[in-house]
């Protein structure tokens, strides 16, 4: 290896030392990483939805056994998920204002909501009235619901870890950025659910009538 040789003399034109050390929203680097992940996962949801419609277009009868998923748990899940957007948005704003007490309350609340939703999701799986091995219809229904569940569980674990961090000495600075960005991810989990609900619960009923 040769010795570092810089032939260019630096001309100092400005100072970076007074810049802030973290910022929220598009100012932060991790926000862009988050948007990248949302682009990837959003594309996967769109293509899974396209697969559902493609498969539906290939058969005379959809669902083959004329049994769409039962209403109850899907409605309960959707209602709780949509309502969770309210405390989630409150948590995001508190995190942006870096108010530790409110963020602790919000993270504990969102953790409990996430756990409750996982329980409802389990019941939802039992009410699909089809198995993945019954038909292509069963396969795509289970996979689309499974894909959404993976996002639900991922965000729940993230929320639990952040809640734990916020009660330790690590509760400072960038943790608030992390909390606000975790709340943005939850918004994505909520928004992604709306078309999936239409696809899984309403489309099979429309196709039958």
């Amino acid at each position: 290896m040769n010795e570092p040789r810089s032939t260019l003399t630096p001309d100092f034109m400005g100072d970076l030392s007074r810049l802030e050390v973290h910022g929220h929203g598009p100012r932060s680097l991790t926000w862009w990483g988050l948007m990248g992940m949302i682009a990837i996962e959003g594309t996967a949801f769109l293509l899974a939805g396209a697969t559902y419609l493609y498969l539906a277009s290939q058969v005379p009868q959809w669902p083959p056994a004329k049994l769409p998923p039962a209403w109850l748990w899907g409605v309960v899940f959707s209602a709780v998920l949509l309502l969770s957007a309210v405390p989630n948005e409150w948590l995001k704003r508190q995190a942006e204002q870096e108010s530790l007490r409110a963020v602790r309350i919000g993270l504990v609340l969102m953790s409990m909501i996430g756990l409750a939703l996982c329980a409802v999701r389990y019941l939802e799986f039992t009410a699909l009235r089809v198995s993945w091995s019954d038909s292509a219809y069963g396969s795509i229904v289970v996979v689309v619901l499974g894909l959404h569940t993976v996002h639900l569980v991922t965000d729940l674990i993230d929320t639990l870890v952040l809640a734990a961090l916020m009660f330790t000495r690590h509760a400072y600075g960038r943790r608030f950025v992390d909390t606000a960005e975790n709340a943005i991810y939850w918004n994505f989990v909520v928004l992604a659910w709306l078309p999936i609900y239409v696809l899984l619960y309403l489309v099979p009923r429309w196709l039958q009538s």
């Binding site: 040769n2 260019l8 396969s139």
Partner: protein, 637 residues
């Protein structure tokens, strides 16, 4: 006492010493496994991808030997199926995409004028998961359970009924590994280009290399999920009895082709667009002037990336889809040659208007233009449905895509090797050997693949392990095999040049080609922190503005890893963010994830059992290992 910061307070030697202490990766096995330096990771990527390239090339040569004469018995049909599947799979998934991303991992932070890549640990993770996937599929091949359904693994051939055993499962999981890796890298590169460019490097003066890498990696985000979804459907059909592609239970085999080519066609451009960025760098430096019609070049890159998502059905013309739909894809496939042509004409104009200096890198660019234009012309021919129906699955198609892929990606890549090798290694390659290298490759390539156009027109199908004598194919097949030998000699000369020059090549100065972009402002090879001071960009080609001076910013900490985050469009300095230190967690996460992928081939329960170690590893990764700092600043992750 205030914290030490770069600037007039310290002389350059002391600045370098303090930054090295902060940024250097520790020596020894821990440092080797924990490194998050983008240059270390990229070098590993490049070497690994090079090994896969040579391996896949050798498989191709064995196939050429088998086809060199009629009714040859060197290779049987079963091994031949594995050979062409492994060749295509390795070249596309383990060489072409990773090698282009590896060049980006090395060069993007340097050309952008920053100290690190956006997510260093994610980038380290992407390397480990890539190498695990590649090793897995090659070990399977060595054990005679290599995939054998072609690199695009069409159903129903690849489904449980016609491909029992584990061969296709290894293929499907190899996809999962490499796409996880490619997606992780893409996120890092996009964030680096958008948020970490040196202050003053607004989008309107961003080098074309960065534009090409930005466009490519944005494409990755929207293309690769399709193949991951498809390969997951396939492996579920094979292992747990779903019916996505099973027509008997309402599934559909063509669904596979739609999902695969929705990824697969953009994939070609994901390989090709980085090469456009490399060529623009080489041409501007060789011509000693900025690229002609820069705004047009940027628009052409963006146009190619959008149109690339509208071409996938041209791989499916022979499947009996509605005629009207086919016309749309014919038009789109022909139209994409327009922005590609714009690029070619702008480079020619740049060379014409500048004072071109012919070196080996430029020689490879000219070779690229010749070969790629020929491949592009056969592409326009194949976009026509009647001709495509005639030539589908023949050697004409084999000739076409090797002209496009080797001409469009490998030639620029080797040009890039000659151009950037001194920056990476600190020594220059031999230009004399380089000329031999170029001519053997150029002649060898054309002798190998040009006859295949005729073989295809004469009716020779692809993927046949032998053929009868007297069909008029014998002589040209032998000629192609002789050409492949010369091609092999060319690759060997490149390797000899690279290995020899690393020891005895002349030492490289920081800017041996007198280029204008920022990677040439630092030493060759660059120090762990890339730049002693963050450059301030005041011109399109910063190093051509002033000869001996560089405008820079002061004020980043010398005692902790820190870089400047800028705004997306104007690149105004906005934040000082801490950068991750070396860590074993990316490797441990890759072992947990890779172990789960591998085990899932043998039992679906592995997905459930493997979730816990992955969660533990990721929590370990994200848990801060530094206490809060007394000075109120954020510690490094």
């Amino acid at each position: 006492m205030s914290a030490p910061r770069d600037g007039e307070d310290f002389d350059e030697a002391s600045t370098a010493q303090q930054l090295t202490r902060t940024w250097a990766t520790p020596r020894g096995w821990w440092g080797a496994l924990a490194t998050v330096d983008h240059k270390d990771i990229a070098r590993r990527y490049l070497v690994t991808a090079g090994v896969f390239f040579v391996g896949a090339g050798m498989l191709a040569f064995v196939m050429r030997l088998q086809l060199s004469r009629a009714e040859n018995t060197l290779i049987g049909p079963d091994l031949y199926n594995q050979l062409f599947t492994m060749h295509g799979t390795t070249m596309m998934f383990l060489f072409a995409v990773p090698v282009m991303q590896a060049v980006a991992i090395y060069l993007v932070p340097l050309i952008a004028g920053t100290r690190a890549i956006a997510f260093p640990r994610l980038t380290a993770f992407s390397y480990w998961i890539y190498v695990f996937g590649g090793v897995m599929v090659w070990v399977a091949f060595a054990l005679n359970i290599g995939p054998d359904a072609g690199w695009f693994a069409y159903t129903p051939l690849s489904g449980p009924q016609y491909s029992p055993g584990k061969r296709v499962d290894f293929w499907a999981q190899m996809i999962t590994y490499t796409e996880v890796s490619g997606l992780a890298t893409a996120v890092s590169i996009v964030a680096t280009i958008l948020k970490m460019r040196a202050p003053g490097m607004s989008l309107s003066r961003m080098p074309l290399f960065l534009w090409a890498m930005l466009v490519t990696n944005l494409m990755v985000l929207f293309a690769m999920p399709a193949v991951m979804l498809a390969s997951s459907f396939l492996i579920m059909d094979r292992l747990v009895g779903t019916h996505f592609f099973n027509a008997a239970e309402g599934g559909d085999a063509l669904l596979w082709q739609h999902l695969f080519w929705f990824f697969g066609h953009p994939e070609v451009y994901i390989i090709f667009i980085p090469a456009l960025g490399m060529v623009s760098s080489i041409v501007a430096t060789a011509a000693r002037r900025p690229i002609f019609a820069y705004p047009l070049m940027v628009l052409a890159l963006i146009a190619i990336s959008f149109m690339a998502f509208g071409l996938w059905v041209h791989h499916m013309f022979a499947t009996g889809l509605p005629r009207l739909g086919n016309s749309f894809y014919t038009a789109a496939s022909m139209a994409i040659s327009l922005p590609s042509g714009v690029q070619i004409f702008c480079w020619i104009a740049t060379l014409y208007l500048g004072k071109a200096r012919f070196n080996v890198a430029l020689l490879f660019v000219i070779g690229f233009i010749v070969i790629f234009v020929l491949g592009g012309l056969t592409g326009v021919m194949l976009a026509s449905v009647p001709l495509d129906l005639q030539l589908h699955d023949t050697y004409f198609v084999v000739a076409h895509f090797h002209y496009v892929l080797i001409g469009g990606a490998v030639f620029p890549l080797i040009g890039a090797v000659y151009y950037w090798y001194p920056k990476v290694v600190g020594r220059l390659l031999s230009e004399r050997l380089g000329k031999w290298n170029f001519w053997t490759l150029f002649i060898g390539f054309n002798v190998t693949f040009f006859p295949m156009h005729y073989l295809g027109l004469a009716g020779m199908p692809r993927r046949i392990y032998t053929y009868a004598s007297g069909l008029g194919w014998d002589g040209l097949n032998l000629l192609a095999t002789l050409g492949a030998s010369l091609l092999g000699v060319g690759v060997l000369l490149l390797l000899v040049n690279m290995i020899r020059s690393a020891r005895v090549g002349p030492l490289a100065s920081p800017n041996p080609w007198e280029a204008g972009t920022l990677e040439w402002a630092t030493t060759s090879p660059p120090p762990p922190y890339n730049f002693p001071h963050i450059p301030l960009v005041t011109a399109d080609e910063p190093l051509w503005r002033e000869r001996d001076h560089l405008s820079v910013m002061r004020g980043l900490r010398l005692d902790k890893r820190e870089l400047v985050v800028t705004t997306v469009v104007e690149a105004r300095a906005d934040l000082r963010e801490p950068v991750a230190r070396p860590s074993l967690w990316p490797l441990l996460t890759a072992i947990a994830t890779g172990g789960m992928f591998l085990a899932s081939i043998f039992s679906p329960w592995a997905v459930v059992a493997g979730a816990a170690p992955i969660a533990v590893a990721m929590i370990g990764w994200f848990w801060p290992d530094q206490p809060p700092r007394a000075d109120g600043e954020d510690p490094e992750p």
